[in-house]
Symmetry: none
Subunit: 137 residues, 2 copies
DNA sequence: TTATCTATTTATAACAG
DNA sequence: TCTGTTATAAATAGATA
């Protein structure tokens, strides 16, 4: 698309490389905008130049975070590292504790006790009697 | 770049839109590959078509996760840190529930009841008596 | 460096099978 | 709804300012 054809390999002349980078970066962002509008799609584009400076585009109808959520849903790949997973594990564990307590509470109120055996019922009865004694004191 | 010039607005004819999407998606991915090589840059591109199907490109020298880490560093915007915050909030909330249940359980066992007033004690006594009745049945 | 200018190359809209 | 073709629009390499 220029005065001459170029091979697709690293441009060694650094000022040419910089100029080409700037032009093509604008070009690709323009393309991203266009496909977003023309085809009703969502695009996220992040570019880091070799200098480390960042440029981005994200379709107006969405956010990068939303895109990444969908990305994870689509691919099954995890982006939010181990840390995230640990938190999820913690939540699961606490929820389990929660459920257990819920059950104990119900048992103490005399609910859902058909599944309990004789010994368990006796323990429960004693606990309740102790509780009553303490409260009546 | 075609037989005719088009306006940049949503293509209403859905099969045209689909064809254009497919072509331009390939085009933009090609451009992303080219700028990666030519200019020694890192590019991440994620596209969701209106059907919800995803396509992506990421420069071979990096990964999406690394890109996103750099993104957060560059912009100061939080991507998954925000997610972590949400999870932490959830954990706090469940822990609070947990504590409340813990307290109720202790009360039913007749523990830590000095802080309760007369009415609360009466309610507790009744609950225990009901429980006993149910269990003895 | 950053912008503008064009000869060319490249991408693609419309069309065809 | 795919794949291929082609006339044309758009992008851009190299030059110039």
């Amino acid at each position: 698309m220029g005065r001459g054809k170029i091979e697709i390999k690293r441009i060694e002349n650094s000022s040419n490389r910089q100029v080409t980078y700037s032009k093509r970066r604008n070009g690709i962002i323009k393309k991203a905008k266009e496909i977003t509008v023309l085809c009703d799609t969502k695009v996220s584009l992040v570019v880091f130049g070799s200098s480390g400076k960042m440029h981005e585009f994200c379709s107006p109808s969405t956010t990068l975070i939303e895109m990444l959520d969908n990305y994870q849903r689509s691919t099954g790949k995890k982006l939010w590292d181990a840390k995230h997973e640990n938190l999820n594990n913690e939540i699961d564990q606490i929820k389990k504790e929660n459920d257990n307590m819920q059950i104990k509470l119900r048992h103490l109120k005399g609910q859902d006790i058909t599944s309990l055996n004789h010994k368990e019922l006796m323990v429960l009865e004693e606990a309740l009697e102790n509780g009553l004694v303490n409260i009546r004191d």
